[in-house]
C-alpha cells in the first residue's frame, strides 16, 4: 500500500490527509513535533484569554484519527532526502515514504534585533509560545508592561490577549497607521481608534532598536529607534510577520526560495514530494495573490486540491476570489475581492462610508474606467461570502452591487441595517440615483 507521509499537522496537513482518506485507502502518516493532535492555531489567543481551554481548539476528538486510519507520529523531522524517499528524525530514527507532503507552516520573523533571544522575548505562533506567554505574563503583577513589535494581525491579537489580563501594552507599529499597507486609510484609522479606545499605548512610526538585558538574560526594557525612548517591560512580543518554516530542508535536494518552491500542482522540484500551506511558495503569484499566502483557508484549499492529485485526479491549486476576515479587538473585519491599502493600483477607485458613531465602515473598490466591482471591505458588518463570490465571478458593475447590497448582509437578525445610509452616501458622492433593492431569498439562492 502506498505510504503518504505528511510533515506538519496544521490545517494544510490535516486537510490533505482527511481528503486522501475520503478518496482512497492509502496508508497515511502525519508527523508533528508541536502537538500530538491537530489544533486551531487561530484560536491560541482565546486560550490565554480564558474563552476556551486548549482542548477546545482541537477540531477532532482523539478517536477520530484511529477511526480514519490516520497514523500520528510525534517527532521533529531533521532532514529529508527526496531521492532516497526517506526522512530523518531528531532522535536518529527515520521513515520512508512513497509520497511526501511538506506542510510545516511558518515561524515568526526575527530581524536580528539586539536582545531578541532574551528571556521574556517571544513570538506567538506555536503552542509553546502560548505556554511561554502564560509563564512570562500570567498577570499584571508578574508582567507590569509588555511591548509588541510589529503591527499586523498577530500583533493586534497579542495586544488584545495581554489587555484581557489587564497588562499595560505598548504597541510599536512601523507604518504611520495600523496595517495601512493592506487597509485603506479610513479603515486603518478606524482600527487605530479602536486600539487607543482600549487603552493600548499605540506608537505609530516607531521601530525597535534593541531589547535591553537585565543582567540575568531576561529582558527589562526596550529602546525605540526614532526617539531613543526606553520603555521598561517584562515581555516583548515579536510579531513582525512570519516566514515559511523550511530551514530543516536547507541541505535537502528540494528547491527552496523563501518557501518550498511548488508549481500549480503543488509539486516540488523532487518527484513525489509536495508542499502546501504556509510553507509553500508558488513560482508565480496566482492572479493578484502573493506567492506565499500565510492564511488559514489557503492551506485548507491546497490540501483539498492536492488530495485530488494524490488520489489520481491531477488537480491544480486554483484559488477562487480572494477573501479573508479578522477581528481587531471588538471590530470584525471581512474582505471579498481586492480592496487596496497604501499600495493601491492606479486603476482602482474606492468608495468609503463610515457610521457617524459606531465603529462600522465599508469600503468598496471598483475599476476607475470600467466601473467593474473589484472588492469590498466591511468593518462591523458581516457579509455573505457566496454572494460576493458570485458577483465577482459575474464581473458586476459597482452600481449593481450597491443596489443589491441588502442581499449580501449577513448580520444577525434584528441588527440595525446600514445599506440605506451607505447607498445614499454613494449616490451623493458619485452623483448617482441608485435605489436599494429589497432582500430576496430567490436571488440569494439563485
Amino acid at each position: 500500500m502506498e505510504h503518504i507521509v505528511i510533515i506538519g499537522n496544521g490545517v494544510a496537513g490535516v486537510t490533505v490527509a482527511r481528503h486522501i482518506r475520503k478518496n482512497s485507502d492509502k496508508r497515511i502518516t502525519i508527523i508533528s513535533g508541536e502537538t500530538d493532535y491537530f489544533f486551531s492555531r487561530t484560536a491560541l489567543m482565546y486560550v490565554y484569554m480564558g474563552h476556551m481551554k486548549f482542548e477546545h481548539t482541537q477540531p477532532y476528538e482523539s478517536w477520530f484519527w484511529k477511526k480514519n486510519r490516520i497514523e500520528l507520529k510525534s517527532a521533529w523531522v531533521e532532514s529529508v532526502s527526496g531521492a532516497n524517499k526517506s526522512i530523518q528524525f531528531n532522535d536518529g530514527q527515520s521513515m520512508s515514504f512513497d509520497k511526501l507532503i511538506i506542510a510545516t507552516g511558518s515561524i515568526p520573523n526575527k530581524f536580528g534585533w539586539p536582545g531578541q533571544d532574551l528571556d521574556g522575548v517571544q513570538g506567538m505562533y506555536h503552542k509553546q509560545d502560548l505556554e511561554k506567554l502564560e509563564k512570562n505574563a500570567p498577570n499584571n503583577k508578574v508582567c507590569k508592561r509588555a511591548v509588541i513589535v510589529g503591527g499586523g494581525l498577530i500583533g493586534i491579537e497579542m495586544a488584545e490577549m495581554l489587555h484581557s489580563r489587564h497588562i499595560p501594552v505598548t504597541f510599536l507599529v512601523r507604518e504611520n497607521s495600523f496595517w495601512n499597507g493592506v487597509l485603506p486609510a479610513g479603515e486603518s484609522a478606524l482600527v487605530n481608534e479602536e486600539i487607543l479606545a482600549n487603552g493600548i499605548d499605540l506608537r505609530l512610526e516607531q521601530n525597535l532598536e534593541e531589547i535591553i538585558d537585565d543582567g540575568n538574560g531576561k529582558c527589562k526594557a526596550i529602546k525605540i529607534q526614532e526617539t531613543g525612548e526606553i520603555i521598561e517591560c517584562d515581555v516583548v512580543g515579536l510579531t513582525a510577520g512570519v516566514s515559511p518554516n523550511v530551514s530543516f530542508l536547507k541541505n535537502s535536494d528540494i528547491e527552496l526560495g523563501r518557501g518550498v518552491m511548488v508549481n500549480r500542482l503543488l509539486e516540488t522540484s523532487v518527484k513525489d514530494v509536495y508542499a502546501i500551506g504556509d510553507c509553500a511558495e508558488q513560482r508565480e503569484g496566482i492572479g493578484r495573490r502573493r506567492p506565499i499566502e500565510a492564511v488559514w483557508y489557503t492551506g485548507r484549499m491546497m490540501g483539498e486540491a492536492l488530495a485530488q492529485t494524490i488520489c489520481g485526479n491531477a488537480t491544480e491549486y486554483n484559488p477562487g476570489h480572494w477573501f479573508n476576515s479578522a477581528k481587531f479587538m471588538d471590530v470584525e473585519y471581512q474582505t471579498y475581492g481586492w480592496v487596496s491599502g497604501s499600495r493601491k493600483p492606479e486603476f482602482e477607485d474606492q468608495f468609503h462610508w463610515r457610521h457617524p458613531v459606531e465603529n462600522i465602515c465599508v469600503t468598496v473598490s471598483y475599476h476607475k474606467d470600467t466601473d467593474e466591482f473589484l472588492g469590498i471591505n466591511t468593518f462591523g458588518i458581516r457579509m455573505r461570502h457566496e454572494i460576493f463570490d458570485r458577483w465577482l465571478t459575474e464581473n458586476r458593475k459597482v452600481d449593481d452591487v450597491m443596489a443589491y447590497l441588502k442581499d449580501a448582509n449577513f448580520d444577525p437578525e434584528f441588527y440595525s441595517k446600514h445599506e440605506d445610509a451607505i447607498i445614499s452616501h454613494y449616490n451623493q458622492e458619485r452623483g448617482k440615483q441608485i435605489k436599494p433593492v429589497k432582500k430576496s431569498w430567490k436571488r440569494i439562492f439563485a
Binding site: 474563552h51 483557508y297 461570502h385
Partner: protein, 542 residues
C-alpha cells in the same frame, strides 16, 4: 467599580445565608383549635389520629421545623400502623366487613409532607412570621441588591461592548471548579427539599405571604415561593444578559421575551386566575412539557370551570397540535425554547454563565438522542394510559396501572429530571441539561425542526477558521464547528436558536435565519473559495 462589585457579592451572600438559614428559624406550636380546624377541613374525624396528633404534636409545645415535621409524620405513621394491625386482625378473622371499613382511616404516605406543611404553616411562631416584610428585605432584598451591585459594574469592568468571555476558563465558578461544585450541591439540595420535603422550608413561604395575598388572596405555598424566586432570578440575571450582550440586539430581545413570558404568563396570570376562582393556567406551557395537562384532576377541574375551562382545554390541545409545529416550521424551535419557555428562560439567564460546560463529545450526542426520545415516548405512553383510564374508568391499560405510571413520571421526570438534575446540574454540565437530555416537548419540536422547517444556521462560505468558539459556547452541546469548517449549514434537532454561536464567532461565519427549505441543507465536499471547476466536480449530484 471593583469595590462595588465585591461588596455586592458580600451582600448577596449575606442575603443567601439568611434565606437559607431562615429554614431553621422560629418554632412551631400547634394549638388544639388549629389542629381541629385543619382536620375538619380535611374531613378527618377518626379518634385515633386526633389522639396521636394531640399527644405527639400539640402537647409537646413549640418545636423546631425538623422535630415538628418528624412528630407529625410520626403520628400519621402510628395511625397507619394501628389501622394496618386492625386490617390484619380482621383479615385473619375473615371479618371482611370490618376489614373494609378500616381503609378509610389510613392516610396516604404521599400526603404526610403536605399535612406536615399545612400544620406548620398554621402553627408557626417567632421572628420570621412576625416580621415578614423585614425578612423579605433581608433575604430577597439583600440578594437582589447584592446581585445587582455585583452585576452592574460589569458595564465598565468588562470593557467596551462586544464578546467578553475573558477569564471564563480561569474562574472556579465557571470552569467546573470548586465554586461550581458548591453551587451544584446547593441547587440539588434546594430542589430535593422543595420537591420532596417542602415542610422544611415552610418559613420561606411566610416571607412571600404578603405578595401572594396581594396577588391571589391566598397564602403562599412552596410553589409560590418557587415561582416568585424564579422570576426574581430571571430578572436579575437578565440584567446581566443586557450588559453582557448589549451590542447584540438578538440577545437583548430574546432575553426580554423570555422574561415577559415568565413573569406575565407563567407567574402573574395564573395567580390572578386563582384570585378570580378560575383554574390557574400557564397559557404558554405546552403539553408534553406540561405533562399533567391530561391528568384526570386537571381535566375535571377544567370541565368544572365553565367557559374558561373549556377554552383552556381547547387552547392546550391547539397549542401542542397546531401552534407549536407551525411556528417551528416558520421560525425553528427557538421561538419556543429560547424566546418563550420558562425552563429555557431560566437556562438563558441564570444558566448563561455555565453554557460552556455542556459536553460536545459525540458520545454525549448519542446519549442525548436516546434519552430525550425515551422521555418523549414515556410521556406519550403515560398520557395514553391516563386518558384511557379517564374515559373508560379502567385502572390500567395493557397491564400498566394509570396511577403508577403517572406517579412514576411525575417523580422521575417531573421532579428529578426536570428539577433536581435539569437545573441542579447547570454549573457542571451546562445550562440546558433538561432541555437537551430530557424535555419531551423539545424532542417533539426537534423532530419538526430537523425534518420540516425553514430555520437553519447558515455557514458563511469558507470563512471559518475552526477556532471553536461556537462549539465551546453552544449550550446544547452541538459541535457547531464540525459543520462550519466544512461549509455546511447547521440543521440540528437540538438547536434551540439561542444565537450565541453566531455572537461569539470572531469571523462572522454563522447566521440564524429562516428561509426557503430549498438550499437549507447543503452538503459540500469542498468549501467555497476553491477553483470553480473543482467545486462543480465535487458537488455534483448535491
Amino acid at each position: 467599580m471593583k469595590a462595588i462589585h465585591h461588596i455586592g457579592l458580600v451582600i448577596f451572600l449575606i442575603g443567601l445565608t439568611i434565606f437559607t438559614g431562615s429554614i431553621f428559624a422560629g418554632s412551631f406550636d400547634l394549638q388544639k383549635e388549629q389542629l381541629n380546624s385543619f382536620l375538619e377541613s380535611k374531613g378527618i374525624a377518626n379518634e385515633f389520629i386526633i389522639k396521636e396528633l394531640n399527644e405527639d404534636v400539640v402537647s409537646k409545645g413549640p418545636m423546631g421545623i425538623f422535630e415538628f415535621s418528624s412528630s407529625v409524620r410520626g403520628a400519621l405513621e402510628k395511625n397507619n400502623v394501628h389501622y394496618d394491625a386492625l386490617i390484619a386482625k380482621y383479615d385473619a378473622a375473615k371479618d371482611w366487613d370490618n376489614k373494609g371499613k378500616q381503609y378509610q382511616y389510613r392516610i396516604n404516605e404521599k400526603d404526610f409532607r403536605a399535612m406536615s406543611f399545612s400544620l406548620a404553616k398554621k402553627s408557626a411562631i417567632g421572628f420570621v412570621v412576625e416580621n415578614k416584610g423585614l425578612m423579605w428585605f433581608l433575604t430577597f432584598g439583600l440578594g437582589i441588591l447584592g446581585a445587582l451591585m455585583f452585576i452592574a459594574p460589569q458595564l465598565q469592568l468588562l470593557g467596551r461592548k462586544g464578546i467578553k468571555n475573558n477569564g471564563i476558563y480561569h474562574s472556579a465558578a465557571t470552569s467546573r471548579g470548586w465554586i461550581a461544585w458548591l453551587v451544584l450541591v446547593y441547587l440539588v439540595l434546594f430542589y430535593i427539599t422543595l420537591y420532596f420535603m417542602a415542610d422544611y422550608v415552610v418559613n420561606w413561604t411566610f416571607i412571600v405571604d404578603p405578595i401572594s395575598l396581594f396577588l391571589s388572596g391566598n397564602e403562599a405555598s412552596q410553589w409560590f415561593v418557587y415561582g416568585f424566586l424564579y422570576c426574581v432570578l430571571m430578572s436579575v440575571m437578565a440584567v446581566r444578559m443586557y450588559i453582557k450582550y448589549r451590542h447584540n440586539k438578538y440577545q437583548v430581545l430574546r432575553t426580554t421575551s423570555v422574561l415577559f413570558f415568565q413573569i406575565v404568563l407563567a407567574f402573574l396570570i395564573p395567580e390572578i386566575m386563582t384570585s378570580l376562582q378560575m383554574p390557574a393556567y400557564d397559557f404558554k406551557n405546552a403539553f408534553p412539557l406540561d405533562y399533567d395537562f391530561f391528568f384526570s384532576w386537571n381535566l375535571d377541574s377544567l370541565l368544572d370551570s365553565g367557559a374558561i375551562g373549556l377554552f383552556i382545554l381547547v387552547w392546550g390541545i391547539v397549542l401542542t397540535v397546531i401552534i407549536v409545529p407551525v411556528m417551528v416550521y416558520f421560525f425553528g424551535k427557538r421561538w419556543y425554547c429560547s424566546w418563550v419557555c420558562g425552563c429555557g428562560g431560566l437556562a438563558e439567564t441564570l444558566g448563561d454563565p455555565y453554557r460552556q460546560n455542556s459536553s460536545k463529545k459525540l458520545i454525549s450526542w448519542k446519549l442525548e438522542r436516546w434519552l430525550i426520545h425515551s422521555v418523549l415516548v414515556f410521556s406519550l405512553v403515560m398520557t395514553i394510559v391516563t386518558l384511557y383510564a379517564y374515559f373508560t374508568g379502567a385502572n390500567s391499560l395493557l397491564g400498566i396501572p394509570a396511577d403508577w405510571i403517572k406517579d412514576a413520571y411525575s417523580v422521575l421526570i417531573g421532579a428529578w429530571f426536570a428539577g433536581v438534575i435539569g437545573t441542579g446540574f447547570y454549573p457542571i454540565f451546562g445550562n440546558r441539561v433538561w432541555c437537551r437530555f430530557g424535555c419531551p416537548l423539545a424532542a417533539y419540536l426537534g423532530l419538526v425542526q430537523r425534518f420540516k422547517s425553514r430555520f437553519r444556521i447558515t455557514t458563511n462560505g469558507g470563512q471559518c477558521i475552526s477556532c471553536g468558539n461556537c462549539s465551546t459556547y453552544c449550550e446544547q452541546g452541538i459541535d457547531v464547528r464540525a459543520y462550519a469548517q466544512k461549509g455546511e449549514n447547521i440543521v440540528r434537532a437540538s438547536c434551540v436558536g439561542c444565537g450565541v454561536c453566531s455572537a461569539v464567532c470572531p469571523r462572522g461565519v454563522l447566521k440564524l435565519e429562516n428561509g426557503p427549505e430549498d438550499g437549507r441543507i447543503n452538503p459540500t465536499e469542498v468549501l467555497l473559495g476553491n477553483d470553480v471547476d473543482l467545486m462543480d466536480l465535487l458537488n455534483k449530484g448535491k
